[in-house]
């Protein structure tokens, strides 16, 4: 290869790689997919929990760190956890990291019984994970509502999603005192 071709190749390749790298690191911090962002200065202060793997935009924020994030989402926190027996309110479980992405669920409790489970986030690393998640989530929700606990069988073929789902659920139930 001639020297000029080599120099040109190195220069343009380096430029392409830099752009890719920049986009990669930017995507990690600047995407604020939460539509109902309460604070205005949200995008400037880089809060550590908002690290999101931006892609497709199919799922909301993905906490890349397994740090417990029972922070307020949409303002409906576990405020009403008053009485010991008849706990009521919405409780957000910890975000559980898996190979295929983070899983986090929110549980709605009324008078000490589980009335709903919402998946805030499911394994979504690739299309395959997304389809597995979409299949597993309704099954898990039904099982949990029926059993009224996190002690249910996982969905076969969705072991990662199931385990993470139930472990996030358990942490939410712990908050609710159930």
């Amino acid at each position: 290869m001639r020297a000029r071709a080599l120099a040109l190749s190195i220069l343009s390749s380096a430029a392409v790689l830099t752009v890719g790298w920049q986009l990669g690191t930017q995507g990690q911090t600047s995407t604020a997919p939460d539509a109902a962002a309460p604070t205005t200065a949200d995008s400037v202060t880089s809060d550590p929990t908002a690290t999101a793997t931006s892609r497709g935009g199919s799922t909301p924020s993905a906490a890349a760190t397994p740090a417990p994030a029972p922070t307020a989402t949409n303002g409906s926190v576990s405020a009403a956890a008053a009485a010991s027996d008849g706990a009521s309110g919405t409780f957000t479980g910890t975000s559980v990291q898996t190979r295929f992405g983070a899983v986090q669920v929110q549980v709605t409790v009324a008078n000490g019984s589980i009335t709903d489970v919402t998946a805030l986030q499911l394994t979504d690393k690739d299309q395959r994970s997304v389809s597995i998640s979409n299949r597993a989530a309704p099954v898990l929700r039904q099982e949990v509502l029926a059993a009224q606990s996190a002690n249910v069988q996982g969905v076969s073929g969705a072991t990662y999603t199931s385990d993470a789902y139930l472990s996030s659920l358990q942490s939410a139930l712990d908050q609710a005192g159930l």
Binding site: R4, L8, L17, L23, G24, G27, A64, R128
Partner: protein, 459 residues
């Protein structure tokens, strides 16, 4: 004393160099872009331990390997711009060099991802392979890998010799299938190319570009051109034992803008020859209504086309080739032709504008039966005032030389035949191993690479 012809040549050569350098840079940038797709996806952040590092390496090797295969398709698409700048044979030499690295990258892609996933799952490689195989579009992906292995293995020189050209070519066409069946798993299982991403748009664009180039330049343009010119065989004339000139007629053949020294890929529509396209040089510059090819029956296919009847329909792909006057860079011209290699040499000289004393031509044959078309070279208008030498006789046994026994005995060298060699463009055409020896001597005499022009008759 800056000669205007010389100046134009230099400018053209510089322009070609720039274009060639840009093409090389484009290829490497596409490799960088494949890595950048992964970087832009945030791939670096997924790496945290050995397992995820292997997985990441697996993704990157897959992207780069596929990119190289698409580059190979583009190189094989016979795009006129590439042919004009570097020549299709140089492009194909590069294509061949990319084959094995591309396969190794794709194999590494499969192996690294399997091991990486197995480590993350805490399972073993066999279990992981089975579970991968059950993923969406993965059976197709493994099929693509199998096809790719078949294509590359049959193209390794030692193996390729065992196959006829047709069988090899048929297997080689499977590479299109291999690349296509690999696409679904890239789009569905790959996180980097997820739905709605810029990466996906770029990647599909690459596929469209590669397959589009093949569809246009290897199928659409040749079909249209063949229909437009309506080429038929006018007659077949034997010019020497086993050597025939095929005279063709057609409409507006001058509009093909064939440069002397070029070739085209011809298909003769008879029952026994239609399935095989032959690259054959023009032995004369086409006129508006006629063209002439000269061919030696080297293989069974060439033997069959020497028997085609007048009126046979002929389709054309081309013209191609950089063995033309337009690619000259030096003020003088040195030409060596042997055997059937005379064909492009004759039309190149016919098409050249030469001043007296500018060219020296050496015609080489092992016996007088190989002196066909030689007298035509002598009567070319451009050859007036230019020297033509002939060298007849077999090469000595056990000595690597391109000259005859007699010439060697008289102390002839490339330097004595072409006293002004270093100031010349050297055009060489003849059997491969013979031509290589001419080039060896020219290089040894100090002739720069860009002054060496060689037309190879090999597949």
């Amino acid at each position: 004393m800056v000669d205007p012809v010389d100046r134009t040549r230099r400018i053209r050569a510089r322009r070609r160099m720039r274009a060639a350098d840009a093409m090389v840079a484009l290829v490497w940038s596409s490799v960088a872009a494949a890595v950048a797709l992964w970087l832009g996806y945030g791939g670096l952040n997924t790496v945290s331990n050995l397992g995820t590092a292997l997985t990441a390496a697996g993704i990157v090797t897959g992207l780069v390997g596929t990119d190289l295969i698409l580059v190979m398709l583009v190189l094989a698409a016979r795009i006129p711009a590439i042919d004009r700048v570097v020549g299709q044979d140089t492009a194909m030499a590069f294509h061949r060099r990319l084959g094995k690295p591309a396969l190794y990258l794709i194999l590494a892609h499969g192996a690294l991802l399997t091991v990486g996933y197995a480590m993350a799952d805490g399972s073993n490689v066999v279990t992981e392979t089975i579970s991968l195989f059950q993923g969406p579009d993965m059976a197709l992906a493994y099929l693509g890998l199998g096809l790719l292995i078949a294509v590359v293995v049959t193209s390794v020189v030692a193996v390729r010799r065992r196959f006829s050209y047709e069988a090899w070519h048929l297997i080689h066409l499977l590479s299109y299938a291999a690349v296509l069946v690999a696409l679904p798993h890239q789009l569905s299982a790959g996180g980097v190319l997820a739905d709605g991403s810029v990466q996906r748009v770029y990647w599909i664009g690459l596929y469209v570009l590669a397959f589009g180039a093949i569809a246009v330049f290897r199928f659409a343009v040749p079909a249209l051109r063949s229909a437009r010119h309506g080429i038929r065989v006018a007659g077949v004339e034997q010019v020497a034992p086993g050597v025939v000139s095929i005279h063709l007629t057609g409409r507006d053949l001058d509009r093909l803008q064939t440069a002397g020294g070029q070739y085209a890929i011809w298909r003769f529509w008879t029952g026994s020859t239609w399935w095989h396209a032959h690259p054959i040089s023009f032995s004369a510059v086409p006129t508006a209504s006629s063209a002439r090819l000269t061919v030696r029956d080297l293989g069974s296919g060439s033997a069959a086309i020497s028997r085609v009847r007048p009126g046979t329909r002929v389709s054309i792909e081309g013209p191609y080739g950089v063995f033309t006057e337009a690619h000259r860079v030096a003020p003088k011209l040195a030409v060596v032709a042997a055997g059937i290699g005379i064909t492009p040499i004759r039309s190149m000289l016919e098409h050249s504008t030469l001043r007296p004393g500018e060219a020296t031509v050496l015609l080489r044959g092992s016996d007088p039966s190989q002196s066909y078309l030689w007298n035509e070279v002598g009567t070319l208008r451009s050859m007036r005032g230019n020297a033509i030498f002939s060298m007849l006789g077999p090469r000595p046994h056990g000595l690597a030389t391109w000259m005859s026994v007699e010439a060697l005995a008289h102390g002839v060298t490339i330097g004595t035949v072409f006293p002004d060699l270093l100031n010349s463009d050297l055009y060489v055409c003849g059997p491969q191993s013979w031509a290589d020896l001419v080039i060896r001597d020219a290089r040894a005499a100090g002739l720069p690479e860009d002054q060496i022009h060689v037309e190879r008759f090999d597949w």
